[in-house]
Amino acid sequence: MRSRSVASPGSRWLSAYAALVYAFLYLPIVVLAVYSFNAGGVGGFPPRNLTLSWYRLLFQDDAIWSTLLNSFIVALVAVAISIILGLMAALALDRVNFPGKALFRRIVLLPLILPGIITGLSLLMLFVAAGMKLSLVTITLGHGTALISVATTEIFAGLQKLDRAQEEASLDLGANQLTTFWRITLPNLRVSLIAAALLIFTLSLDEIAVSFFLIGRNNTLPLEIWSRLRRGITPEINAISTVILLFSIILILVWYRLRTHGENIDENAAALPTAIQGDRA
């Protein structure tokens, strides 16, 4: 009734500004979705002649489906690599002291902030030097490497919330290290692991910068879209984009469900900067 919030006077302006920012963030997405139904393609305003023809075209496009499959497989394997190594790295950072640890931490987290092109190029040179042919394998290795940092960050945050006493209790009760890890540590990390997996999967599906240099005969979906864009705009792209958008939203909702299972929303956001800030992590 007479309640006043902590920050009132300017907050109406602030709300309006926030609404504008949201509008800015969503403008392209909304346009995309709307125009994917536009018969006249991408031009003009307002959109007219709503049609599903672009979607029909999309579903008949074999090249798109095969590259989508490629992307899926790459993403799944990349998730496996990143999670396993990221889990180990997070555990090492949390529990082991070794010479060069600070350096190790920085290098592991570097791909997070380093422009993808540099990571991609250096890996290209490695494969050339090793005589490896570029293919989906090289792309997968590239994604896995680049995304370890995401897994490490997420899992490390989860480790911080783990009650060490649980593990001690497990040892005290007679379980060895491996059993303790399997029965106590991992289940407690379940949310972090799944969240990381979802995030890495999505990032891998959309990955362009690193993939750009490591591509062989077979394309991943983003690179396929990219090459078509180079050749000229087709509104079919709008349709693909909207489908990708829907898929992303579904994934996010799943991710979100798991995330809020007993976590604070700021933990995820906090994980990124604390990782960058090094020692505080």
Partner: protein, 356 residues
């Protein structure tokens, strides 16, 4: 009473839970008032209403003939010492204390001397340039106190400021706080759940229970004449005797005594009898007389004896299996049946509060 702060029928709800139900309280200028209560009693909410961080759902708060509850917190001449101290980590001790002075646009030239004065008052002068994170809990608390006092508020609110300190430090700070309040003469409103602390510090205690004021009185008054059974139990220890009254005589568990004044009441009544008011017979020189019509005597079986330094606490069983606690000067080992007595006037009639 020279009432400085007047709380009039203030009520507050949080999500359908009534936290404060129509509280009215007058606080005198220059007094040390403690709001005492268990967790959930609403004491912190009441404090926050005075500070301005919450708004009452109904009722008003006045200070010195002006309406207080309609003002935002930064315009009230009230300052708070927070339970967690809430020192600004990015400012030095000096700047923390100067903060209020700066935002109120006190003359720049005046600020250093006032800050130093406040620091001296809490005996933290040598920590002027330290960072709050480097101070111990007790030291941070003093800085928080100085930061509030330097602004010379009309009322100082203290939200369980001593709860995080260890026992010895706590006792020491209690004494210092009391002296400080006498020295500056500002009205202190102190919130705590610790009844010993309340008794040691306050001019008056306001006992809050589940959103209602149970009793407001001086420590001595509230101890000797508790108004309700809850008050009697919360403050100090007591025995609650549930008696039947008829014809001016109360009877509980086989003990009868004459109650003060002529009352034509009959029925059930509850009496509070403090353990130290019960004496073990033979403990005092035979010549001493109990005032008021002779002592009430009874026999009881000694069940346990707990050593307490200067005194012992006995738990004794009466004929109907109910037990009483008795506090006597320290004695050698006691057992078996013994005879006890108390003065009838020490059995204070108390109201049973409505259950919530």
């Amino acid at each position: 009473m020279n009432s400085l702060l007047s709380i009039r029928n203030v009520a507050k709800k949080f999500q359908n839970r009534e936290v404060l139900r129509g509280i009215s309280l007058d606080v005198a200028s220059g007094e040390f008032l403690t709001i005492l209560g268990e967790s959930g009693s609403g004491k912190t909410t009441l404090l926050r209403l005075i500070a301005g961080f919450e708004q009452p759902d109904s009722g008003e708060i006045w200070m010195a003939d002006e309406r207080l509850d309609t003002l935002p917190p930064h315009r009230r001449h009230v300052n708070t010492v927070f339970q967690s101290y809430a020192l600004f980590p990015h400012l030095s001790v000096f700047e923390n204390i100067a903060y209020g002075l700066r935002v109120q646009h006190v003359a720049k030239a005046e600020i250093p001397s006032r800050v130093e004065q406040a620091l001296a008052m809490v005996k933290m002068a040598e920590f002027e340039h330290s960072a709050p994170s480097r101070l111990s809990g007790g030291q941070q608390q003093r800085v928080a106190l100085a930061r509030a006092l330097v602004n010379r508020p009309q009322v100082l609110l203290l939200d369980e400021p001593l709860s995080a300190l260890d026992a010895n430090l706590r006792r020491q700070m209690q004494i210092e706080l009391k002296l400080l309040q006498r020295e500056v003469g500002i009205t202190f409103i102190f919130v705590t759940h610790d009844q010993e602390e309340a008794m040691a510090l306050s001019d008056r205690i306001a006992l809050l229970r589940a959103g209602d004021l149970e009793q407001v009185a001086s420590p001595r008054e509230i101890y000797v004449r508790p108004a309700t059974a809850y008050t009697a139990k919360f403050i100090g220890q007591t025995n609650l005797l549930r008696a039947q009254v008829s014809g001016g005589v109360a009877t509980a568990s086989g003990i009868s005594w004459r109650i003060a004044g002529t009352s034509s009441e009959s029925g059930a009544a509850t009496f509070s009898l403090r353990p130290e008011c019960i004496r073990l017979l033979g403990q005092f020189a035979p010549g001493v007389r109990m005032a008021d019509g002779g002592p009430v005597r009874f026999r009881a079986q000694i069940k346990t004896q707990t050593f307490g330094g200067a005194t012992d606490l006995l738990e004794v069983a009466l004929s109907d299996e109910s037990s009483l606690r008795v506090r006597i000067p320290s004695h050698g080992s006691l057992q078996g049946e013994a005879e006890f007595e108390f003065a009838a006037a020490d059995a204070v009639s108390v109201r049973e509060s409505e259950p919530n």
